[in-house]
């Protein structure tokens, strides 16, 4: 296009490489540190481990309950995610494709949920979940996760359904399909790109959610992953098993990294198209 001098090309690369190192190095440091003993951690922070301490991972998994936290998180996130997608798709389909009294009102009512910071609802929500006897239960947390994922997911999917062509739907109706068959057999498969975007977006949101479980789950055996990690950190001040905590972080970060690298295109698209539409 236009001339870029050699000097500026070199300086550009220097800045870009520099930032890449700043982003990556803390994670590499964490991964190799998680194989060190506590002594090595304290006396030579930069050095690689002398011997690989696999036991750190065993302690993190069992003694520090990372395995349990991981399981708890899956028990909550998988149903919450699937239900969010199906419930939102149903509502979005109706809002996008049918004319009825109050349609615009309902759409904006769902939309308004995106305006409010969760902190405003926190105490009444805590009170409500308590009254429903759902504090410290997985189903309580699942319902709350779904409810707070609805506004954005419905908003996004309504837009998505509006872009889909009507001909296929109409010909299915001509062929005698009932509305339910039209939705589940025709519309849902056609909406799968939108569902995938929202699936990724909500999965990350739920997987990394911290404030809601912090308030709604206080029973240690039912902690979510992020909560359990924070709990481990706070415990270090009297337990001093730093190497297990490094190992726990590695256990959590490496799968995230692998999933991210595999699906990075979809993940970036899911998050940014999501963000730009909101």
């Amino acid at each position: 296009m236009y001339k870029v001098s050699r000097w500026s090309a070199v300086s550009t690369q220097t800045v870009l490489v520099g930032w890449a190192v700043i982003v990556i190095f803390p994670m590499i440091w964490m991964i190799y540190s998680s194989f060190k003993t506590d002594q090595e951690l304290f006396f030579s922070p930069w050095a690689p481990p002398m011997e690989l301490q696999w036991d750190n991972f065993a302690r993190a998994w069992t003694k520090a309950h990372v395995g349990d936290y991981l399981l708890n998180t899956l028990i909550v996130v998988i149903p919450a995610l699937l239900l969010t997608l199906i419930i939102s798709a149903m509502a979005a389909y109706v809002l996008a494709r049918f004319e009825f009294v109050g349609r615009r009102f309902l759409f904006y009512m769902f939309l308004s949920g995106m305006l409010f910071p969760v902190f405003l609802a926190l105490i009444p929500l805590f009170n409500l979940v308590n009254q429903l006897k759902m504090l410290n239960t997985f189903h309580g947390l699942i319902l709350v996760y779904i409810a707070y994922s609805l506004p954005f997911t419905i908003f996004f999917l309504t837009g998505f359904f509006k872009t889909l062509p009507t001909e296929i739907e109409e010909s299915a109706i001509m062929d005698g399909a009932n509305p339910y068959q039209v939705f589940f057999k025709v519309m849902l498969p056609m909406a799968s790109p939108g569902l995938i975007s929202m699936g990724i977006f909500n999965f990350l949101g739920m997987w990394n959610q911290y404030v809601l479980p912090l308030v709604l789950i206080s029973d240690e055996s039912k902690y979510m992953l992020s909560q359990g990690l924070a709990f481990m950190l706070f415990k270090q001040f009297y337990e001093n098993d730093w190497s297990a905590l490094f190992a726990a972080l590695t256990i959590i970060m490496v799968p995230t990294l692998i999933v991210y690298i595999t699906f990075q295109k979809q993940i970036q698209d899911g998050i940014t198209t999501g963000a730009l539409k909101g």
Binding site: T12, P26, M30, F119, A121, N127, I146, N208
Partner: protein, 291 residues
């Protein structure tokens, strides 16, 4: 063709409507009332006290301290994060070598849990096991800062982590905008002899208006929140130097059971977010350039 359409509308809307009304609308509307009550714990019931909570807030040093920390974030984060993100987005969209690698790498912290990031960085900053302090000692600095342990450096250490986490996300948002700018504009600019700087300020930046505006709203929301990172890294300390409205209201609510007062702080938090969002949309409203 739409015979009996309510036979599908009602059952399809019902689950979303029920969950949303119960767990979202109801708590938010209750909060509007709770903010004007004294409510000490779940066993008691809220008692209406009018504007007492807000009056108390005016004379509450902890509140002003937390708010001023939010204001620092609101001022610093947009400039540093968005400026840096924009700069990198421009560099990378120039088709430099390895641009895909950079894009994937820079974005990664965005998908990590904020708790994992908080813990990772409290290790990095740690005075004995951390890498910063030992690096500084190695180059001859006898008493390196204790970062998170010192009220003078703690807030800035958190700023650095937030930039580290979110710059890649905003970079990708800006890149999405840059990709939609037609090449012909750049070619015309090159023919006119425009250099990199002129191209950026005359063409790229003005055409990124929409992306800049959404980015400003997002970074405002981030700067007002800051809960996860603060709560894991410093719990608002040392000496409340990193306390923000979210951590302060959490403390009032779940450590001292001051539900009414905590909700009134949340109300102020909410009003600030809304006002700033409207302001951003107001100030940045102008003709979107069609191309």
């Amino acid at each position: 063709m739409r015979r009996n359409k309510y036979g599908i509308i009602l059952p399809f809307l019902a689950p979303a409507l029920i969950l949303y009304s119960l767990f979202v609308i109801y708590p938010y509307s209750q909060a509007m009332y709770v903010a004007f009550t004294k409510w000490k714990g779940l066993r008691k019931s809220p008692r209406f006290v009018g504007l007492d909570n807000f009056e108390k807030m005016l004379g509450d040093d902890k509140f002003w301290n937390a708010l001023s920390n939010n204001l620092i974030y609101l001022f610093v984060l947009p400039i540093v994060t968005l400026g840096f993100a924009l700069f990198m987005a421009f560099m990378i969209s120039q088709k430099v070598r390895f641009n895909n690698f950079y894009r994937v790498t820079y974005f990664f912290p965005q998908v990590m849990s904020v708790v994992a990031i908080g813990i990772l960085w409290s290790f990095v900053y740690h005075p004995t096991i951390g890498i910063f302090s030992s690096l500084l000692k190695a180059v001859g600095i006898k008493n390196p800062p204790v970062w998170l342990g010192d009220p003078d450096t703690a807030l800035w250490s958190i700023v650095a982590v937030t930039v580290w986490q979110s710059a890649g996300f905003f970079m990708v948002i800006f890149m999405a905008g840059m990709l939609s700018i037609p090449k012909s504009l750049y070619e015309a600019a090159a023919l006119d002899g425009a250099g990199r700087g002129a191209t950026f300020f005359r063409i790229t930046f003005p055409l990124l208006w929409e992306n800049t505006r959404s980015s400003l709203v997002f970074i405002t929301v981030i700067a007002m929140d800051m809960f996860g990172i603060t709560f894991t890294m410093t719990q608002g300390g040392p000496d409340r130097s990193t306390d923000v409205l979210a951590t302060l209201l959490y403390e009032h609510a779940f450590l001292h059971s001051r539900f009414g007062y905590a909700t009134s702080i949340a109300m102020v938090y909410f009003i600030i977010v809304i006002v700033l969002t409207l302001l951003i949309f107001r100030v940045t409203r102008r003709e979107t350039i069609e191309f």
